[in-house]
């Protein structure tokens, strides 16, 4: 049996088992997440060696049927999802979410996460606009469930706002796909260059990009996101911030690559919105008083940076910039998931998540603070992390083109991200006279291991960035 088929079907089967049999949910979820990681790695190795693969589902070639396109970019995203999923699963398996929802089901996380995983895998592999829309529907609803999981009043309100924003995004996306069908008579991804050639087609692509911008929380359509990501349980926030947002960004990148130079105006809008997001998110992160809110606003800024990179992608074949965007997505996913898990652990130890209260004399910094610091290094883009390699590629491509204003913007965004993350890291790196001699150390938990593991992965991928870059060479263009 083919890995792609298993990647899209096994998580969904596991989700059904976990939902029908709550007692076995944890074990089912862990096994499925592990199996998914194995399959993703096997597929990535095969694509890295043998090149991109395409498959027509049911034997019906596009545009009649739906195609899967498993290329380097898709494989990188699959591995990214699998890694983040592993980390979060370790955390949830070690410490089940407290009284999830109102029914007291401690295992409700698993079916929702597995459905998210199945939908993400299907999305990365899909080569069909309408099929992408359907995967977004699963993803959006599952994400609403994940947001509501903690069951608090603020979480429920945030989940409802998430649902409303997600529906608006879906509507725009669906309108765009319908218009694409009305213009070109087909909806497979190969139609994108044709769409970019006509007036109506460009409107269709514009609607699709607008829908994606809502779903990716791209400034100025990000209004729903900080509340949702900061009021959900930390494990859910890690998934939402690291993965779910990436789905929309991935499709935007895919469409930009397919559309090439013809979607210039759309890409310019994307780049400007990205720059706006970088500054806006950073400004709010600098002013946030709660740790989770800071991390959520930093997602707005980082999504902006990635959107900027996608917007500045010129050609499909040559540019280093889209590779930079892909690497930035990967590093942001790992670092942000680590950061949210670390914040969850810090909050658990401190009993609150106010930034001003991070300096506590009777508590030594633990593994969670360490993980946060490594993740911050990767998000800022300091060597030797994956974030550094991504930013380096981006700046390299921009300097080659002489696009100095954009270089300045990226550097400004970097300085700002260093500034707001330093608010936390400087307090975490305290020691010496600030800590009382008898200060206790926080105990080890599964969450520490998960956060450290993910943060270390972000660090290690910087050293081994040849791996993802070779994989990206096998991308269909």
């Amino acid at each position: 049996m083919n890995e792609t088929s298993l990647l899209v079907s096994l998580p969904l089967i596991a989700a059904l088992v976990a939902a029908a049999w709550p007692r076995a949910a944890t074990i089912t979820g862990v096994i499925a997440t592990l199996g998914n990681a194995g399959l993703a790695v096997v597929l990535a190795i095969r694509i890295g060696q043998g090149g991109a693969e395409a498959e027509a589902l049911g034997g019906w070639a596009a545009p009649l049927g739906i195609g899967f396109a498993a290329d380097g970019l898709a494989a990188l995203m699959l591995v990214m999802t699998a890694l983040v999923g592993l980390g979060v699963s370790v955390q949830v398996a070690g410490a089940p979410l407290p009284d999830a929802g109102r029914t007291g089901q401690r295992t409700a996380f698993w079916p929702l996460w597995l459905a998210t995983l199945g939908a993400m895998n299907a999305l990365f592999l899909s080569a069909d606009l309408f099929n992408l829309y359907v995967t977004f529907e699963i993803l959006g609803l599952a994400a609403v469930g994940l947001t509501a999981l903690s069951g608090t009043r603020t979480a429920l309100r945030a989940a409802f706002d998430y649902l409303s924003a997600g529906l608006a995004g879906s509507l725009l996306l669906l309108l765009g796909v319908a218009l694409a069908y009305a213009t070109a008579g087909r909806v497979d991804l190969a139609v994108v260059p044709e769409l970019a050639g006509s007036h109506e087609g460009r409107v269709a692509l514009g609607l699709i990009f607008a829908g994606l911008a809502v779903k990716a929380a791209l400034f100025p359509l990000h209004f729903w996101m900080p509340a949702a990501h900061s009021s959900a349980a930390p494990e859910a926030s890690a998934l939402l911030s690291a993965l779910v947002v990436k789905a929309a960004i991935y499709v935007a990148l895919r469409l930009s690559i397919e559309g090439g130079a013809a979607v210039e105006l759309l890409r310019l809008v994307l780049a400007v919105a990205g720059a706006g997001a970088m500054l806006w998110g950073a400004w709010h992160a600098l002013r946030a008083d709660r740790l989770k809110l800071l991390v959520a606003h930093s997602t707005v800024a980082q999504v902006g940076l990635i959107a900027l990179a996608i917007g500045l992608t010129t050609g499909a074949r040559d540019g280093t910039i889209w590779r930079a965007a892909a690497l930035l997505m990967l590093s942001h996913a790992l670092a942000k998931a680590a950061m949210f898990l670390a914040v969850g652990r810090i909050t658990e130890e401190l009993g609150h998540d106010r930034i001003s209260g991070l300096n506590r004399e009777e508590l030594r910094p633990g593994a969670a603070e360490f993980a946060f610091a490594i993740a911050a290094i990767s998000l800022i883009g300091l060597p030797p992390t994956a974030g550094f390699v991504g930013k380096w590629l981006l700046l390299d491509g921009l300097i080659d083109r002489g696009a100095w204003p954009w270089v300045a913007l990226v550097l400004l965004g970097t300085v700002l991200s260093a500034a707001y993350l330093a608010r936390v890291v400087s307090r975490c790196l305290r020691g010496g006279p600030h800590v009382a001699p008898g200060a206790r150390r926080p105990a080890w938990r599964a969450g520490d291991a998960a956060a450290l593991g993910l943060a270390t992965a972000a660090l290690a991928l910087g050293l081994a960035s040849a791996l993802p870059l070779t994989l990206l060479d096998a991308t269909l263009t």
Partner: protein, 297 residues
């Protein structure tokens, strides 16, 4: 016929305005349901009977029922604070709508998809092109749509929607339910079987079946134990399970995900649709009745 079409269009607009402006939730939902029926009629006029059936059964019928249930839980409408925004919102919406209508009208689609479907229809195993697209050419879309329903069911379960406690609706309810329920089963079976050659299929059949089940629930004839709810939940999940197993099974047999074996396509399609019908009916029913037992009394 042009007069009828114009009247239909005017009626649709009128219902939409009424649904948006009523100060009473129940009246709003009633206007929405009439809107759904009129839209279904317009689908008939557009020669899309499959969509018309789905719109009438799901868009007007079950969505309306879900809205009514939600309206009951929400209580009376409070005076809206954001009334001042109504005019700008209406302007933006009509501007956007007008622009889109213009773009859609100016698009002249090349005939690509319909000829492809027509050419491959004999190999699809069914003679209704809509079913051929939904269950064969683009079956993967349909599978994922069923997954959307499953996730909706899971989220509703997570949020712990309270279970419906039917109140007595008068003495005609019982005879009504006793007639409607068997008819809905016959009708669902008919729609399911007919779907392979004429308008019909799993979604429509499932919605009709759910309607019959709801008549039983509202008449107090349906069992309400925790085990029943659990069974219904598992029935709701089973459609996706059968579809996924069929997808992997067909890959084992033919080497292609959702590629049904030659000459057995119709058997596979009808079997999948039968499972989907039951599962869609159970899902829609559960979304209406809720899961959790009322805590007191």
């Amino acid at each position: 016929m042009i007069a009828f079409d114009l009247a239909l269009a005017a009626g649709i607009l009128l219902c939409a305005v009424s649904a948006l402006t009523r100060r009473d939730r129940t009246a709003s939902v009633a206007a929405f349901m009439v809107l759904g029926l009129l839209v279904a009629l317009s689908w008939v006029r557009l020669a899309a009977p499959d969509v018309a059936l789905a719109e009438a059964a799901i868009g007007a019928g079950l969505t309306g029922a879900l809205f009514l249930r939600a309206a009951r839980r929400l209580g009376p409408l409070r005076p809206a604070a954001g009334r001042t925004l109504a005019v700008p919102a209406a302007l933006v919406a009509s501007g956007l709508g007008g622009g889109l209508a213009w773009v859609f009208a100016s698009a002249s689609p090349p005939a690509i998809y319909a000829p492809l479907v027509a050419a491959s229809l004999p190999e699809s195993g069914v003679s209704n092109p809509v079913t051929a697209v939904l269950l064969n050419f683009r079956a993967w879309d349909t599978l994922l749509e069923i997954a959307v329903l499953v996730v909706a069911l899971l989220v509703a379960n997570l949020l712990g929607s309270r279970r419906l406690v039917p109140v007595s609706l008068g003495e005609m309810t019982l005879p009504f339910a006793r007639i409607v329920a068997p008819i809905s089963i016959l009708l669902a079976g008919h729609l399911l079987w007919q779907g392979s050659s004429a308008p019909g299929g799993a979604f429509q059949a499932g919605a009709v079946l759910a309607g019959g089940l709801l008549a039983l629930v509202l008449a107090g004839l349906a069992p309400t134990g925790t085990l029943v709810v659990r069974g219904a939940l598992i029935a709701g999940l089973s459609g996706l399970a059968v579809f996924l197993i069929a997808a992997l099974g067909s890959e084992a047999l033919t080497g292609s995900l959702l590629g049904y074996p030659n000459r057995a396509e119709k058997v596979w399609i009808v079997a999948i649709e039968a499972a989907l019908t039951l599962s869609i009916a159970a899902t829609l029913c559960l979304l209406f009745t809720g899961f959790e037992k009322r805590k007191t009394s």
